[in-house]
Amino acid sequence: MSMEDYDYLFKIVLIGNAGVGKTCLVRRFTQGLFPPGQGATIGVDFMIKTVDIKGEKVKLQIWDTAGQERFRSITQSYYRSANALILTYDITCEDSFRCLPEWLREIEQYANNQVVTILVGNKIDLAEKREVLRQRAEDFAEAQSMLYLETSAKESDNVEKLFLDLACELIREAKQNKLDNNDTAPMPGEGKTISYLSCCSLN
């Protein structure tokens, strides 16, 4: 008889070019760390952080690309059951911004229809090296009906806000869906999580 220690579980997936600071955003948020120059941690599938949103415990499972974006070889399955996508580029790197339409095509192809997408311009601590103007990114995000936020993983600017805003949005959507379709409401003896094979095993 154990109860899951959260009210909601969301899978958040990070995408964007290599080197834009995806892993740093995750580590800053989940561990309060900024490890400069550190690549993806070996063996870490996703990071977890449970946050409190208006009294409800929300467990965020934050998935990183595992380096597969380096040679543009992200697996489709990576996108499949994501509740939210954080599309990241580096404001000091025009190229990472130019690649966004390509990423959007991938999202369109493989991600779930209801996925919440947020565009993040990272590295605002390097303002002097900025190559992509804020206005340009905002316009782009608006045209693609995405949320937009600029962050600095290094200075911890807006990182908390990024994830908390996402969590709020996801809760809002989840409640909306619950109203629309009562069947998805949790029921006795049944977890809310994606049931992994090993969980539904009968023996």
Binding site: N17, G43, F71, S73, T75, Y78, E102, L197
Partner: protein
């Protein structure tokens, strides 16, 4: 997405992202090997891939185009002392052949026209209109070939060419009559147009191979053991069906099925249940039939025709001359798998089978494996003395050293392999239909259908029908996969079954059957014959075969495990990946206040106890 250079030193280089290669990649990376995993295609999973509808059309087109054999570049300048070159096959044209595409639905978006004109009620006029439309449809059924975009009627170069010709004519012979009749009998059923299929193309995930996961098979065991299961979701196959006496019937296999079955008498129910419970144990009675056909054993059990059919074709899924011990083993496997996750022994991955190799690739990447699609290996550098592959040269001419090289057998020239000759093939058909072969209360069934040979010498066909909630087809359609061991071309083998089970312009009096909107036939090389180590290759080069004709995945998993054991005989095969919550992170050796960090977090988290009172 800049074109970075690859590192030049790895423990293992793997070429091809099929299931066996991907499992090897994950297994090696998991235990700390540096893995480079490449595929020259732009998609994962090789012949195990799933495509969106549009992706499949592109794939078809690619396979139609005469693949221009690349000029073999001379890399001998990169040779070092005592090395020689082995060139890999520059194109993979051999594994897929006899592609044929038919479209039996209207080109244009019928719905739009109808919507602008009349509200969706059934008026006489509309019926007439619908009928007219369908005539148009059939007329436009095959002219698809005019579209340069996909050239459906052209077959790949191959000896089966004439089969394709006759096939192409098939639909034209008697066009309108069946369609008209059909639209009259079901005036409200609006056919989904080709344009809609394309528009909703991304709703499809069409597998090149059609397999199911036995719930106690080696793939499921491996997914659970390795924690790779966390990357995918699965659906139960909900029904086992069979084609018999011109009808599709449900095969009762679980206790609940037997109870509910309407086609079995109570005595048959008892006999079936008794057989299923008793055959789990070995008996002397069974041993007496060793070497004799399973069919004889079943006959001896006096089960009657109904049960015999179910047990032979749908549960054991063997042929009439399969020996008893094999039939029984297969029956037991079926029964062992039953009820673990649902009412049938099978699972199917949501979004299609192509997800599975990708999940293993993700595992490999999480443990540091490097991935690069659209990137190939041109040749191997072999040390003459030791006959070992020391390095590979990639498609950019970079020399990448490695200790082991694992490769999909399609990349290796035929004369270097030790394979069964002539190469065996699997016949495949993919249909998009507008209804289930056995409509029932729920429209969300995933069904496994066994079709015994419909004539002497015909192959037994396995058919899987997927519903939209499996995320493999758009709503309002079903995706049907047919598979059999090739006797002739895929069209020759499978179109008679399609004609019997579905409504196509070729079928007669089949109006009540589901209509085929679009279909694809092709043959794929049967991976069953490949051996892990080819005779004429260095000892540290390992071949992975493509998909085999079996329903399960055992062949590829067994192969992957074998390769892994040869490469790393001391290591554990795919130990569980740690739960992310249990991982200790330490940045740069600097001690950081993890403990306090945690504490704070926990305070935010709240008060709950499972004890007390």
């Amino acid at each position: 997405m800049a074109a970075e250079d690859l590192p030049s030193e790895f423990d293992i280089v793997i070429l091809g992202t099929g299931l066996a290669e991907s499992v090897v990649a994950a297994a090696c990376s998991r235990v700390g090997q540096r893995v480079l995993h490449l595929d020259r295609r732009s998609h994962y999973a090789a012949n195990w891939a799933s495509f969106t509808f549009n992706g499949l059309l592109t794939w078809i087109q690619e396979h139609h185009e005469e693949s221009q054999p690349e000029e073999l570049q001379d890399w001998s300048s990169l040779l070092e002392e005592g090395e020689e070159l082995i060139y890999l096959n520059p194109s993979d044209s051999a594994s897929i052949r006899n592609l044929q595409v038919f479209c039996f639905t209207s080109e244009k978006d019928e719905e739009e026209e109808a919507q602008s004109a009349v509200p969706p009620s059934t008026t006489e006029e509309e019926k007439g209109e619908a009928a007219d439309d369908t005539v148009d449809e059939t007329e436009s059924a095959d002219p698809k070939e005019e579209e340069s975009e996909e050239k459906p009627e052209e077959t790949a170069a191959g000896q089966e060419g004439q089969g394709a010709q006759t096939a192409g004519e098939g639909p034209e012979v008697d066009q309108s009559h069946p369609s008209v009749a059909q639209s009259q009998s079901e005036p409200t059923r609006k056919k989904i147009s080709y344009a809609q299929l394309v528009k909703e193309g991304r709703r499809f995930n069409i597998d090149l191979v059609s397999k199911l996961m036995y719930s106690r098979g080696s793939l499921v065991d491996l997914l659970i053991k390795s924690n790779v299961s966390r990357y995918a979701e699965f659906k139960n196959v909900t029904r086992i069906l069979t084609y018999r006496h011109g009808n599709v019937e449900q095969v009762p296999c679980s206790r609940a099925d037997v109870f509910a079955s309407r086609q079995l008498s109570v005595v048959e129910k008892r006999k079936l249940m008794r057989f299923l419970t008793s055959c789990v144990e070995e008996t002397e009675e069974q041993q007496a039939f060793t070497g004799r056909p399973y069919l004889d054993f079943l006959r001896d059990q006096q089960l009657g025709d109904n049960l015999q059919h179910f047990l032979l074709h749908s549960i054991a899924m063997v042929t009439e001359d399969t020996p008893t011990e094999v039939g029984l083993a297969s029956t037991r496997h079926f029964l062992r798998c039953l009820g673990r996750y649902g009412n049938t022994p099978f699972l199917f991955p949501v979004y299609g089978l192509g997800e599975i190799p990708q999940c293993f690739c993700r595992m490999c990447a999480v443990f540091g494996g490097i991935y690069c699609l659209r990137h190939s290996v041109h040749c191997l550098l072999v040390d003459k003395d030791s006959n070992r592959c020391k390095a590979v040269i990639d498609s950019r001419g970079q020399r990448i050293s490695c200790n082991h090289f694992v490769v999909e057998d399609g990349y290796v020239e035929a004369n270097r392999k030790n394979v069964a000759t002539p190469t065996r093939f699997i016949s495949r058909a993919v249909l998009i239909t507008d209804a289930s072969v056995l409509p029932s209360g729920s429209d969300q069934h995933v069904s496994m259908v066994t079709v015994p040979p419909i004539a002497a010498g015909s192959p037994a066909v396995k058919m899987v029908e997927l519903c939209p909630s499996s995320m493999t087809c758009m709503s309002g359609t079903y995706l049907v996969h047919l598979t059999c061991q090739s006797v002739g071309s895929s069209y020759q083998d499978l179109s008679p079954v399609v004609t019997k089970l579905f409504h196509t312009p070729e079928s007669h009096d089949q109006e009540h059957r589901p209509s085929v909107l679009w279909c694809l036939y092709f043959n794929m090389a049967d991976g069953d014959g490949t051996q892990v180590q080819g005779h004429n290759l260095p000892s540290n080069v390992y071949l992975c075969s493509g998909p085999d004709a079996d329903l399960g995945h055992d062949h590829a998993i067994r192969q992957a495990e074998l390769i892994f054991q040869k490469i790393l005989p001391e290591e554990d095969f795919c130990p569980p990946a740690p739960n992310p919550e249990d991982i200790i992170y330490d940045g740069d050796g600097t001690s950081f206040p993890e403990e306090e960090e945690k504490q704070e977090e926990e305070l935010v988290e709240e008060q709950e106890v499972q004890t007390e009172e």
